[in-house]
């Protein structure tokens, strides 16, 4: 850039700065992101603070009343509760399972490539296709005509495990997280495996020479090195979780028992024909994700600069 400025000084009013062609090349993408991401977020906010509760009322402005009134909608508080329960179980479950699998594999294991491929393949499948089979597996029919996993539990003598899955009014969303854990824990495993393997052998060796037990090597040398991996995984799983839509549509559709904000947006737009409410819910969703992601982005851009 300094050189560009020097060039400008040598030829006053003549040559353009050297960085200009680069900016021009990226300009179409900047315009596209500016319009489609930031412009439309603003536009969505505009709809959210309008009184447009059907498709004919002019937009107007109602001073954000929608953001308050939404909480009186009987379907909204449960939707928030469902999303939170789903998030806790899914993020926690995928994180623990992924870390466990990576921990078991990190020192090398026979047929490792095969294991990795099987744990990871569900990620290549759409939530919709996965939903087809999971809806079948998690069938809540009572014991005498049990099907799916409940039937399998019965055949294995594990009747105690049989349950009503996602149709349980209190804990249903925890069951809904099972297919999501199935899909994403391989990804977490891959992240952790790369993390484990990134810890230099000399570090572990040095700790062993100092008399650390194998557990202490993990506790004091390896695990602290995995914190950035854990953070990345948390953010990625967290934002997937808050946005969960496909999986629930495939398994339960729009039923109230598994209602979440992402489904609510869809229902407001297509079934209740209420753009203002749909946009309000979408804004809450955006806020939740932004709270999670912005600090992380700032942190990782700063970390990269330090490196």
């Amino acid at each position: 850039m300094a050189r560009g400025n020097a060039g400008v000084r040598r030829l006053p009013g003549g040559r353009a700065p050297r960085w200009l062609p680069g900016l021009l090349l990226v300009a179409p993408s900047i315009l596209a992101i500016g319009l489609f991401v930031y412009g439309l977020i603003f536009w969505n906010l505009r709809v959210a603070v309008s009184g447009r509760h059907d498709e004919v009322t002019p937009y107007g402005f109602d001073r954000g009343r929608n953001f308050v009134d939404l909480w009186d909608d009987p379907s909204w508080p449960p939707a928030v509760r469902h999303a939170l329960l789903f998030t806790v179980v899914f993020v926690g479950g995928a994180l623990l399972l992924g870390a466990l699998l990576a921990f078991l594999m990190e020192k090398g294991i026979a047929a490792e490539a095969g294991f990795r491929a099987v744990y990871l393949f569900p990620m290549a499948i759409s939530f919709i296709a996965a939903g087809v089979v999971w809806r079948w597996l998690m069938n809540p029919a009572p014991p005498e005509r049990a099907v799916g996993l409940n039937q399998l539990f019965g055949d294995l003598g594990l009747d105690a495990l049989a349950n009503d899955w996602w149709q349980n009014p209190t804990w249903g969303m925890a069951a809904m997280a099972i297919p999501a854990i199935w899909q994403m824990s391989g990804y977490v495993m891959a992240l952790y495996l790369a993390g484990f393997r990134g810890v230099p052998d000399e570090l572990r060796e040095a700790a062993r020479v100092d008399g650390a037990s194998e557990w202490q090597v993990y506790r004091y040398v390896v695990f602290p090195q995995l914190r950035p991996v854990t953070l990345s995984a948390l953010i990625i799983l967290g934002h997937i979780s808050l946005k969960v839509f496909d999986l629930i549509m495939a398994i339960a559709g729009k039923q109230i028992i598994t209602y979440v904000p992402a489904i609510a947006t869809y229902v407001e737009v297509f079934d209740r024909h209420d753009p203002a409410n749909g946009a309000t819910i979408a804004t809450y969703l955006l806020l939740a994700v932004a709270l999670l992601v912005i600090p992380y982005l700032v942190w990782s851009v700063r970390a990269e600069r330090v490196r």
Binding site: W19, P21, G22, L25, V26, P28, S29, I30, A32, I33, F36, V37, L40, I41, N44, L101, L104, M105, K107, I109, F115, V118, Y119, F121, P122, S126, F127, I128, A129, A130, G131, V132, V133, W136, L137, R145, G148, Q151, W182, A190, L191, A194, S232, I236, K243, F245, M249, A252, T265, Y266, G278, A279, L285, L286, V293, I294, L297, V298, S300, V301
Partner: protein, 275 residues
Amino acid sequence: MRASPVGRTVRFAVLLAFLVVFLIPVYVLVVTSFKPLDEADPAAAWELPSNWSLDGWSGAWETLRPGLANSFKIAVTGSLIAAALGSLNGYVLSKWRFPGSDAVFTLFLFGMFIPYQAVMIPLAGLLTRMELAGTIRGLVLAHVVYGIPICTLIFRNYYVTIPNELIEAARVDGAGLLRTYSSIVLPVSGPAFAVTLIWQFTSLWNDFLFAVFLGAPDSWPVTVMLNNTAGSGAVAVQYNQQMAAALLASLPTLVVYLLLGRFFMRGLMAGALKG
């Protein structure tokens, strides 16, 4: 300090147990898809077919064929364009920076995480005004635009590893922006294109949200068609066909994953912002 044989056996056994659990859904899908209709009863889900039949598969093929064609058009075009844009952006943002390019990059990155619901309502309106609502071109446009952030990220993280001296040398020799790109950067971009194309193809193929908000029956990809055939509450669901359809709809991404899994992994890593 290698692990003891006992420890290794225990670890192997636990991993094997999880492997079996991971494959349970696949077993049910495959087994049911090859059953004739009269055997495809949820109560017999765990049993092998007594007569193997392809009826489910042929039915699924008939139902999903238009959706498969749409999905191919959307996923192939959408990922090619987004990858090309990502490559150019990544090049400029890593090797030909302009004032504020870091800020631009950060603003792009946020676009990767937004819940698309937050733009879907105005986006549908915008596409209607552009007369692209419900068309394949409209879906491709949306996928390309919202694919720019991840593609830019993957390419930028990849290009950072190209030595600056190479770029400087080309500049000194009088090569401009595009000349440097085509003679130095593009020839080494193969792996980054592989990662990006596989990643984009997979996410576009598996997309459901954009398709239901912006698509129409003519442009519905296979995910929407699959979800419709699986419709809840239907009187007589043909389970063999439904399971075959779920497998058929997943085959392209599974094949890509099996053949190019190595690159798929790298794409996943890029998603974690650690290139």
